[in-house]
């Protein structure tokens, strides 16, 4: 399963009822991340997940590599076990970059969902604004786009794959002590 670039003309949007469910899924996910409820967040993920956030390079238009490429340097390129490792760090009182707690806000917007042709699998696109503020006035804001593959199983939606494309070339913050 890989997220492919969808040809614009072939897009078949999912029905309104499913789109509404997917929106609820994303808003709940954002709320869990804002509350640092990472153990709960993990339950939204498929055990076979690929969670990938490539580093963005500034390249000329027409450069065959493009701004990011598979198998190269990334901020995240995690399977489920690696995500659990990251969550395990957050759970330590000695996670100093999160103690005192960081104040998180995840805004999710531009939600679209498209049929894949495979029953039970939907492509979904969204944009996010992520604000982190901590201590007196340390503030980091990151904007980006998420390209997801969602798995539908009855009433349940899980995240099977996520590609996170941020707009920053040099990350304008010292760390990424959050998920997207």
């Amino acid at each position: 399963m890989t997220v492919q670039t969808v040809p614009m003309l072939d897009e078949t949007p999912v029905g309104d009822a499913l789109l509404r469910r997917i929106e609820r899924f994303y808003y709940r996910e954002a709320r869990l991340l804002d509350r640092e409820a990472y153990a709960d967040w993990l339950t939204l993920l498929d055990p076979g997940i690929r969670y990938w956030m490539p580093a963005m390079e500034t390249r000329k238009r027409g450069d065959q590599r493009g701004p990011w490429t598979d198998g190269e340097m990334s901020y995240f390129d995690d399977d489920f076990a690696m995500l659990k490792v990251r969550v395990a760090r957050y759970e330590q009182p000695s996670a100093w970059a999160d103690n005192p707690a960081t104040r998180h806000l995840h805004i999710v917007t531009n939600i679209e969902a498209i049929e894949t042709g495979t029953p039970g699998l939907v492509r979904a696109f969204s944009c996010f604004e992520n604000v982190r503020n901590r201590n007196e006035k340390d503030q980091d804001v990151i904007h980006g786009r998420r390209e997801d593959l969602l798995k539908l199983d009855g009433d349940r939606i899980t995240l099977a794959e996520r590609r996170i494309l941020i707009v920053q070339n040099i990350l304008l913050s010292k760390n990424l002590n959050t998920f997207f």
Binding site: E57, D63, M73, K174
Partner: protein, 462 residues
């Protein structure tokens, strides 16, 4: 009146170093103290750009990033924007990324393949990959008798040289050779760069981030501060290893710090202590499986350093962690800001699967989202910010751990200190910093106290 025949003098200008004895005195080696002003003061920072970044050999690229003529990467030397580009004859050149006409950048991208040249967006001045001016938009200068094209080009970095795949440059035409700049420290660099006959390469791409700290805090951290791991990295170690950082009861027996000209490495001899923190048992097995081969190549001491708990800084701002394979540059962006460039270095001959584990391993440990690095940035930012206080900045900082740890009878190259839980290499780093402030000649710099004590290099397979 202007002489109609006078032509602009477009020869490269490499500003000369001076000396700043007052700044050099801010490092008090006899009391093992460093004045906090070196981390916040704009005048001292400007002196660093001239005395250190204007003269020292600085890391530019790995040769594997630019295998073919015209392949290039853009980087910085101090705050100077530089293009590093493979020439048609296979050599590597480096040039200021600034058009000599009005100063605009001629290269806006991070890297690229097989470029034929660089063109300024402003007036279309175009330059070859050798920096020479090829032409100007509209050929208006062709009819201008006062214009001498051959005398104009991108300013070349004065010297560019490679050491086992790593490319460095210096703006100082008088600087000693790269090998002389390293001195016997190459013996330690070879732990990473020469532990396999096929040589090394960077995994593609580069993670870049910003930290609001003075560049010397991360540099001194990597030059010798394993002590912080116990406290700073408790949470990361708990997450990956399932327990707090264990620096080991035998840590002092099998660990040491080595320093030459301010370059320093601190290392245990525990074989895979740091590789273990990447969290992939398969990787530990791989490194342990190569132990005998590395021992035959580099000798026992260095074979035990390959994946060990260890860190290294090449003076002034190039650092790496041998066990985690993360390589980085701390580019200064003012006294209180750096841009951090992060790569993963692997042996070319490693199986693809192992390279992939190193890529993922460096990402989950030492990149902005890494379970270790996250907490480092927080420390370095507040080390810098807290020193702004007027009263605060007048109390010097303590670098006094392990002052009696010198191991002068050791036959390892450089200044050797027993155990690595001490500030020895950090003292050497700041001593070198002070030498760069104090001395305006390389003769004085290379004979100064941080120069290596005379002793023969140990044989490879001792």
């Amino acid at each position: 009146m202007c002489d109609a025949k006078a032509r602009p003098d477009m020869r490269p200008v490499y500003p000369k170093a001076g000396s700043y004895p007052d700044f050099a005195d801010l490092v008090d080696d006899s009391r093992a103290q460093v004045d906090r002003r070196v981390f916040i003061d704009r005048a001292i920072y400007e002196a660093e750009l001239r005395q250190i970044f204007g003269r020292a050999w600085l890391f530019l690229a790995h040769e594997s990033q630019i295998p073919n003529p015209g392949d290039f990467v853009r980087t910085y030397m101090g705050e100077d924007d530089v293009i590093v580009v493979r020439q048609r004859n296979g050599r590597i050149g480096a040039y200021l990324n600034s058009c000599p006409h009005r100063g605009n950048r001629v290269c806006m991208v991070d890297s690229g393949k097989k470029a034929r040249g660089f063109i300024c967006n402003y007036h279309g001045w175009s330059f070859g990959i050798d920096g020479r001016l090829n032409g100007t938009d509209g050929k208006v200068y062709d009819k201008d008798p006062g214009f001498e094209k051959s005398a104009i080009g991108l300013t070349p970095v004065a010297q560019v040289a490679s050491y086992k795949g790593l490319v460095f440059g210096t703006f100082d035409p008088e600087a000693p050779s790269l090998e002389d700049y390293f001195g016997p420290f190459t013996w330690y660099l070879d732990v990473m760069l020469d532990n396999d006959e096929g040589g090394t390469e960077f995994i593609g791409g580069c993670v870049k981030s910003t930290v609001e700290c003075n560049w010397k805090f991360p540099a001194e951290n990597f030059v010798g501060d394993i002590l912080h791991a116990f406290w700073t990295h408790q949470s990361g170690a708990e997450a990956i290893l399932g327990g707090a950082v264990d620096l080991g009861s035998r840590y002092d027996e099998r660990a040491f710090q080595a320093s030459v000209y301010g370059h320093g490495i601190e290392t245990n001899l525990d074989k895979v202590g740091n590789t273990r923190t990447l969290g992939f048992p398969e990787l530990n097995d791989y490194v342990l499986g190569r132990y005998e081969a590395v021992k035959a190549r580099l000798g026992e001491v260095r074979a035990r350093m390959v994946g060990a708990v260890s860190s290294c800084t090449v003076f002034p701002n190039f650092s790496f962690l041998p066990g985690q394979a993360t390589f980085r540059v701390w580019h200064p962006k003012g006294p209180d800001r750096i841009d951090l460039y992060t790569w993963t270095l692997v042996n070319k001959n490693m199986p693809e699967r192992i390279k992939e584990l190193y890529r993922k391993g460096t990402m989950i440990t030492f990149s902005p989202g890494g379970v270790f690095e996250m907490d480092d940035g927080e420390n370095w930012e507040y080390c810098t910010k807290a020193n702004q206080g007027w009263v605060t900045r007048h109390q010097k900082l303590h670098y006094g751990l392990g002052q009696d740890s010198a191991w002068s009878e050791s036959d390892l190259p450089g200044h050797i200190h027993r155990g690595s839980l001490n500030d020895a290499n950090q003292r050497q780093f700041y001593k070198r910093w002070a030498e760069f402030m104090r001395f305006d000649s390389w003769g004085d710099l290379q004979r100064a106290e941080t120069a290596p004590p005379a002793k023969p290099l140990p044989q490879a397979a001792e």
